[in-house]
């Protein structure tokens, strides 16, 4: 086959909604875009462990502590599924680590906000994981097989994350005045950053069209953001909390909620590295990687030694 017919074969698969697997021919740009997106997603899972890890030792009771531990462990698992999917495209795990640490590959900006109260564990589960699920469910049908399979596994597990977060909010919202205030304060701080998780408005998102064609993306940023607002308003009402947006209002004509515009300057500023926790998050990851180096080496040395001993015995 000529390069041209490889391309035609690939296009045909895209048109027929067929999956691409690791050994199939794919255009360079498809491979590069996927590596960037999957690696960024994997890094987000791993860096996303930090804001919640912050509260494991200070969870209010054993039940909450066990749940939070399980959730953070899930996120480690999700990161690992995704790193493996990216590796099937030809990038090594160490390369991805290096590119995270050097800032060449990104992670979701949401994790550059601090978690300053226990209520944030509720808001993060409810809103941040809720927004993530909204982004991720359509990716279960994305065109790249290993990515789609990782997403199926992740989505099955994420549902518990969102529900446990909402339960924390519910408990606080039905608690004392101080607890209710804590829940409201947390919603106030996490609402707008959660809306930003869907990415810039469609008009400023130049790659959307190509990504939709490749089924790496299945809905636009604005479509998903609207869907998130529509379902979350009702959830806030059940909690008896107020969404901090004075422009939020039901629109009879469109059948959707109208809502205000997030502060995109804040978004781009954090993307540039100037968020409240950018430095702390990256420093923590680098430190963990550097201080784990001897462990990775020791494990290899131990397995080498055991193998040599076995070979000697067999000889």
């Amino acid at each position: 086959m000529t390069v041209h017919s490889f391309q035609e074969h690939f296009d045909e698969k895209m048109d027929k909604d067929q999956a691409i697997e690791a050994k199939d021919w794919m255009p360079d740009d498809y491979r590069k875009t996927l590596i960037r997106q999957i690696a960024q997603h994997a890094h987000s899972e791993i860096v996303g462990m930090l804001p919640e890890g912050n509260w494991i030792t200070r969870a209010p009771n054993l039940r909450r502590k066990a749940i939070l531990l399980a959730k953070v462990q899930d996120e480690a698992g999700h990161g690992l599924y995704l790193y493996s999917a990216a590796e099937s495209l030809g990038i090594s795990r160490d390369d991805m680590m290096e590119q995270l640490h050097s800032g060449k590959q990104k992670y979701s900006s949401i994790f550059n906000y601090p978690t300053i109260s226990w209520a944030d564990m509720g808001a993060v589960g409810w809103l941040v994981d809720g927004a993530a699920i909204m982004n991720q469910v359509p990716l279960c049908r994305t065109s790249y097989g290993p990515y789609a399979r990782a997403m199926v596994r992740i989505c099955k597990e994420e549902s518990f994350h969102q529900r446990q977060g909402y339960e924390i909010m519910l408990t606080l919202a039905n608690g004392t005045e101080v607890q209710k205030k804590m829940a409201q304060d947390s919603l106030n701080r996490w609402w707008w950053p959660s809306l930003m998780m869907f990415g810039p408005p469609d008009a400023d998102s130049p790659h959307t069209e190509q990504s939709m064609r490749w089924r790496i993306k299945r809905f636009t940023n604005d479509e998903l953001r609207q869907r998130f607002v529509d379902v979350t308003v009702e959830q806030a009402r059940i909690l008896g909390l107020t969404i901090p947006d004075k422009d939020l209002k039901w629109n009879e004509a469109t059948g959707h909620y109208d809502f205000g515009t997030p502060d995109w300057n804040e978004f781009y500023n954090i993307l540039k590295g100037n968020g409240p926790c950018n430095k702390e998050r990256l420093d923590t990851r680098r430190k963990a990687w550097e201080e784990g180096q001897w462990v990775r080496e020791a494990a290899l040395a131990y397995s080498d030694k055991r193998r040599q001993r076995k070979e000697k015995k067999a000889a």
Partner: protein, 100 residues
């Protein structure tokens, strides 16, 4: 092997297969890195069976998996295409016939 080269070595990649319950076969679950087979099984337990997804784990170093070439799909599977008489539904039999 120099110290430097050694520190650049990644833990090898393993493919993980899981039997979800007795009587079923092992199915591919995903892959992971581990220094050796024992560690691969322990990691597979943590990464792929956090919710009782399995009762038995196989791990195989990925480099030992040999796979067919997707480009050969036509040559490999075409011969089965025109042999529909291998399926029981190929045969036209009277409706009153039972237990067959």
């Amino acid at each position: 092997m120099s110290q430097k080269a050694d520190s650049k070595r990644e833990w090898p990649l393993w493919e993980v297969f899981i039997r979800s319950k007795a009587g079923l076969d092992h199915k591919h679950a995903g892959s992971l890195h581990a220094a050796d087979a024992d560690m691969a099984i322990e990691n597979a337990r943590d990464v792929y069976t956090r919710r009782m997804e399995g009762i038995s784990i196989w791990v195989v170093e990925s480099k030992y998996i040999h796979a067919s070439d997707p480009g050969d799909a036509e040559i490999l599977y075409e011969p089965a295409n025109d042999k529909i008489y291998r399926h029981p539904t190929f045969y036209n039999l009277p409706d009153e016939l039972t237990h067959m």
